[in-house]
Structures are given as structure tokens and as C-alpha cells.
């Protein structure tokens, strides 16, 4: 498939936004049960606004993908059958909840809704955060299933697609949360950067396993469709002589990445190093010394790596229609 930059930015940017929100809420949940010190309201408020910025960036980028963005409202109508439609509903819903969550913290409007046993008060911030967490996962599943549900794109049609979207998005969000947290160290509340960095390390490691598993799986796929099944002629030697167009067509532009095999081979180790290896080292170092420059570098490198990862994700998928478009001539 041809990797479209609009979709690469959409999926990686909202991944960061979702991950950052999940990170904030994880810390808040720990704090609710007294396991970590609760941070200033501003920490959660500005953090969720930062997450919102990434989500808005993703949404804006998705519009660039459409031929008729002015008709985008129609995309919310087919949620019964289309994962794309479901994503289009889940994304603004999640953004709305992140906004509410941010506002409850920013305006300190936190009416207590329930009191748990043991006297733990559950306020609006906690409830909206919980809803946001749920929606973050719904959004991950919707985004990944857009690709995972296409059964003849075998590279994508696997639970690993969903697992990796969740893991890679969350990992980048936690790294950003760790970087963000370094700016909130005060005398009375120690920085939470170490906490986020440790989680980011674990999730990045899991992401490395998940992505390696899918690379391993995809390298061993045998194509289901062949030129024989495509034109229905049983013969081991069939070559295409013409495809009905001399100057290419939509089919040659949309479904081929157009890069050399050497480029494809180079990008794989590149994203493995950028998105996983270096961030893991930096996060490991940040465990004992959570410095802003370490975590900032980790985030920038990992995000760059994830862009390459997403590019490869698209490029590696081999569409069966390509069997009909082997030769111009």
C-alpha cells in the first residue's frame, strides 16, 4: 500500500494524545488510593490540554486525507458496519471527554459524585477520566480495526495490529508524560517523571515484543491470492503483458509504495532502533535520573521512529489487486 502521510500523522498523533491521557489518569488513580502523591490540578489540566492538542493535530491531518472534507459529517452514519465510521465517532467523543476532564481540573470544579468504601471520594474528574480511559481504548481498537478488518490484507489482518496500535500509542504517550512531568517538580511534591518513565519503559518493551511478533509473522506469510486465482488460469508461468493503461492509474498510485526493496529493508532496522532501542536506553537511564533532556530526546526520537514504523506498516501490506498491475506496457 502507499503510505499516506495524512494517515501516518493521524494514527501516531492521536496515539500520543491517547497515551498521554492514559498516563495522566493512571497517575491520578494511583494517587486516589494514596499510592502516589496527588499532583496540582494544573498538572492534570495542562496535561490533558496537551493531549487534546495532539488529538486536534491528528484530526486536522485526517481531513487532509479526504477528497471532500466538507462532507465529513456523513462519515458518522455507518457505525453499524464500518470501523472507519466508528473511529470518526470515537475520536470527537474522546476529545470531548478529555476536554471535560481538563476543565474539571483547570476550574477546580470537582463535585464528589460517589464515596467509595474506605472514604475515598470519587469526583467528577475521576469519573470523566475513567470514561476517557474507556474511550481511549475504544478509539485504539477502532483505529486499528480499520486496518485489521481487511481480511485480504493479510499483513494487517491479525490481532497483533490492535495490540501494537494500543502499545505503541500508549508508549509514546507515557514518554511524553514523563517529559511533561519533569516541569512539575516542586518542593512539596516530588516529580512524577520517574513513575511515568518506568511505565513507558515497560510499555515500550512490550511494544517491541508486539511489533517484532508482527514482523516475524508477516515475513512468513504465504500469499493466498496468486495471479492464477486472480485470472482463473491454472499454469505455473503467467506473466502480465499489459494492464490496460500506459501511464499508470489510480491502482498503480494507491497500492504500491514506490520505494526500492533496499529502502524498505533499511527502514525496518531504523524504526526498531529509533522507536524502541534508543528510547529504552534513555528511559532506563531516566529511572535513576529523570532529566528533562533525557526524556525529551526519548520522546522526539521515539515519535520519529513511530512515524517510520507507521510508514513501514503501510508499505509492507501487499494488496491482492497488485496482481493485476504488474506490468505497464
Amino acid at each position: 500500500m502507499k503510505p499516506a502521510f495524512s494517515v501516518i500523522f493521524l494514527t501516531t498523533l492521536i496515539g500520543v494524545g491517547q497515551g498521554l491521557f492514559l498516563a495522566l489518569y493512571t497517575q491520578q488513580s494511583y494517587a486516589l488510593f494514596g499510592l502516589l502523591p496527588l499532583q496540582d490540578d494544573a498538572f492534570y489540566a495542562y496535561g490533558s490540554m496537551l493531549a487534546l492538542l495532539f488529538l486536534i493535530g491528528g484530526l486536522a491531518s485526517s481531513f487532509l486525507h479526504l477528497g471532500h472534507p466538507e462532507r465529513a459529517w456523513r462519515t458518522a452514519t455507518q457505525w453499524r458496519t464500518s470501523w472507519l465510521s466508528r473511529e470518526v465517532i470515537a475520536l470527537p467523543a474522546f476529545m470531548g471527554v478529555v476536554f471535560v476532564y481538563g476543565m474539571t481540573n483547570l476550574l477546580d470544579f470537582r463535585p464528589v459524585l460517589v464515596i467509595l468504601r474506605g472514604g475515598i471520594p470519587v469526583d467528577l474528574s475521576i469519573v470523566s477520566g475513567g470514561l476517557g480511559t474507556l474511550l481511549a481504548f475504544v478509539l485504539f481498537v477502532c483505529t486499528a480495526m480499520i486496518y485489521g478488518c481487511l481480511r485480504f490484507l493479510r499483513e494487517w489482518h491479525s490481532p497483533l495490529t490492535v495490540i501494537n496500535f494500543v502499545l505503541l500509542g500508549t508508549a509514546s504517550g507515557f514518554v511524553l508524560a514523563a517529559f511533561y512531568a519533569t516541569f512539575f517538580a516542586t518542593n512539596y511534591s516530588p516529580t512524577q517523571a520517574g513513575f511515568f518513565a518506568d511505565w513507558a519503559f515497560i510499555i515500550t518493551l512490550l511494544g517491541l515484543f508486539g511489533r517484532s511478533a508482527s514482523l516475524w509473522r508477516n515475513a512468513r506469510l504465504r500469499p493466498t491470492s496468486t495471479v492464477q486465482t486472480a485470472i482463473g488460469i491454472k499454469h505455473p508461468n503467467i506473466v502480465q503483458k499489459s494492464q490496460g493503461a500506459m501511464g499508470g492509474s489510480f491502482n498503480t498510485r494507491e497500492f504500491f509504495h514506490g520505494k526500492s526493496p533496499a529502502f524498505l529493508r533499511a527502514i525496518k532496522p531504523a524504526f526498531l532502533v529509533l522507536a524502541f532501542a534508543i528510547p529504552l536506553l534513555l528511559l532506563f537511564a531516566a529511572h535513576s535520573h529523570p532529566a528533562a533532556w533525557l526524556l525529551g530526546t526519548a520522546f522526539v526520537l521515539q515519535y520519529t521512529g513511530l512515524l517510520a514504523e507507521r510508514w513501514y506498516f503501510f508499505a509492507e501490506a501487499n494488496h491482492p489487486q497488485n496482481l493485476y498491475y504488474q506490468t505497464i506496457g
Binding site: 500500500m1 486525507h65 479526504l66 477528497g67 471532500h68 472534507p69 462532507r71 465529513a72 456523513r74 462519515t75 458518522a76 452514519t77 455507518q78 458496519t81 464500518s82 470501523w83 472507519l84 465510521s85 470518526v88 480499520i146 478488518c149 481487511l150 481480511r151 485480504f152 490484507l153 493466498t224 491470492s225 495471479v227 486465482t229 486472480a230 485470472i231 482463473g232 488460469i233 499454469h235 508461468n237 503467467i238 506473466v239 502480465q240 503483458k241 499489459s242 494492464q243 490496460g244 493503461a245 500506459m246 501511464g247 499508470g248 492509474s249 489510480f250 491502482n251 494507491e254 497500492f255 494488496h319 491482492p320 489487486q321 497488485n322 493485476y324 498491475y325
Partner: protein, 243 residues
């Protein structure tokens, strides 16, 4: 239930592209607007087509065969391109099984083209909406046309009658008979899309001659050529003729 479809006879198609040009001509002139082309006379011409004729070579020299292979939307009975459309622009008509795109609803997200294993959908780069074969839906029901013209443009254009049109759910239709009697098959059956369009295979007319048919039964010594003349004195077969 009706399922309109084309049956394409690969044994007859000569690869003349008459169906391609006729399809383009009809469908670029309709009320749905043109099928846009870019640089039609330039260095890198490209455009939107519903139908393409491709050519494949089967076998290795000198035992090769050229197969011309017309390809358009197959109007799948279980079309994977329809449920994925987020706007409902892509739909399959209940009444005749034609898969259509509503150009006024399509947002040009291209997702349906990803979901079609056959590459039958092409985005119109100028109008930014998805296009595909409509089975000339604006023609086959047009009562102002004489009855014999109410067929898809490609079918009418084909000089060798390689393209048949009809209802594949009606067992007596010309297409159903052709599929049944001439071994019609579907493309990429492995994906369970159940294409309505079928293809008829290449067929060779061959005469089977067995070895014993090449030998004269009245030649037990297996010597070919004229038999030696019998002597005048030899008895004749019928006691009448003599040499």
C-alpha cells in the same frame, strides 16, 4: 431476487478494447458527470475508467498463449467494499444486485478501494469521488431506448460477443446457461466475495484419435502399402473376379 452481471468469454475476447472505449464514452457523457482524464495527450496520461482490458501471457516460449482479460467491478454478491464505507455512499441495490457509489455522498476517503481485492474501484482525481462500473444502470432501464439497446455499453460494443449480460439468479438466462454449460468461474474465490460476474475459460477444440484408429484392421501383418498381386491361379475372394 435479481442479480445482474456480466459473463466474459476469454475464449472469444480478442483484446480490441472496444468495450473500454465504449464504456468510457457512455459513462463520461452521462448526468453523473465526466470520468476525468489528466494529460490525455501529454507525457503521462492517466484517467478514470470503469473497465480495463489487460493482457497476460500464459506458458513459456514457444508454448505460449495470449489471454486478453477485461476487468471491471464484479458486482460481488457479498461485496467487501460496501460495509466499510463510512458514509453509506457505497451500496448494493436490493432490486438488481448492482453495486453503486452515490457521488454526492462519497467523501473520497478511498477506504472502499482498499477493501476490494480486485482493484475494481478508481478514484476520480479531479472530482475526488470513487468511481466504478455501474453496469450502465442509466441505460439498461431506459425505456426510451429500443429494447435491444437496453444493455451495458460494453456488451453492445463487443464485436466478438465475448460479453454476455443478464440475471445470474435466473437459471434460464443466457448468462446462467453460459456459466453452467461452459464452465464459468469466479475470480479469487478464496475471499468469499461471490462475484456476480463470471469468466468463461479458454477452450481448445481437440479431436481424440486412438492409436488403433490409425491402423487398418485388415492389415494383420502391419505392412502398409499395396498388397502384392495374387497369382492368376490363386483363388479369388469372390470366385468371380480374376486378374
Amino acid at each position: 431476487m435479481t442479480q445482474l452481471a456480466l459473463v466474459i468469454d476469454l475464449n472469444v475476447c480478442v483484446g480490441c478494447h472496444a468495450c473500454v472505449t465504449s464504456c468510457k464514452e457512455w459513462n463520461t457523457s452521462g448526468s453523473a458527470g465526466p470520468l476525468c482524464d489528466e494529460n490525455p495527450y501529454g507525457a503521462d496520461p492517466t484517467g478514470t475508467f470503469f473497465n480495463r482490458v489487460q493482457t497476460f501471457e500464459v506458458g513459456q516460449y514457444p508454448n505460449t498463449e495470449t489471454v486478453h482479460f477485461p476487468k471491471s467491478c464484479l458486482h460481488c454478491e457479498d461485496p467487501p467494499c460496501v460495509p466499510v464505507c463510512p458514509t453509506g455512499a457505497s451500496y448494493k441495490r436490493k432490486e438488481d444486485g448492482i453495486v453503486l457509489v452515490d457521488y454526492d455522498k462519497c467523501i473520497g476517503c478511498k477506504y472502499c478501494s482498499w477493501a476490494c481485492p480486485y482493484g475494481a474501484r478508481e478514484l476520480d482525481e479531479k472530482q475526488q469521488v470513487m468511481k466504478k462500473c455501474t453496469l450502465c444502470v442509466d441505460r439498461i432501464y431506459d425505456t426510451t431506448l429500443p429494447e435491444r439497446d437496453r444493455k451495458p455499453s460494453c456488451v453492445l460494443a463487443c464485436p466478438t460477443s465475448a460479453r454476455l449480460f443478464g440475471d445470474v439468479h435466473d437459471e434460464e438466462s443466457v448468462v446462467s446457461k453460459a456459466i453452467r454449460e461452459s464452465a464459468g468461474y469466479a475470480l479469487m474465490p478464496e475471499w468469499g466475495t461471490h462475484p456476480a460476474n463470471h469468466y468463461l475459460p479458454r477452450r481448445k477444440t481437440s479431436l481424440k484419435i486412438h492409436v488403433d484408429e490409425l491402423e487398418r484392421v485388415d492389415n494383420p501383418l502391419k505392412v502398409d502399402g499395396k498388397l502384392p498381386k495374387p497369382q492368376k491361379s490363386d483363388p479369388t475372394l469372390d470366385d468371380v473376379t480374376s486378374w
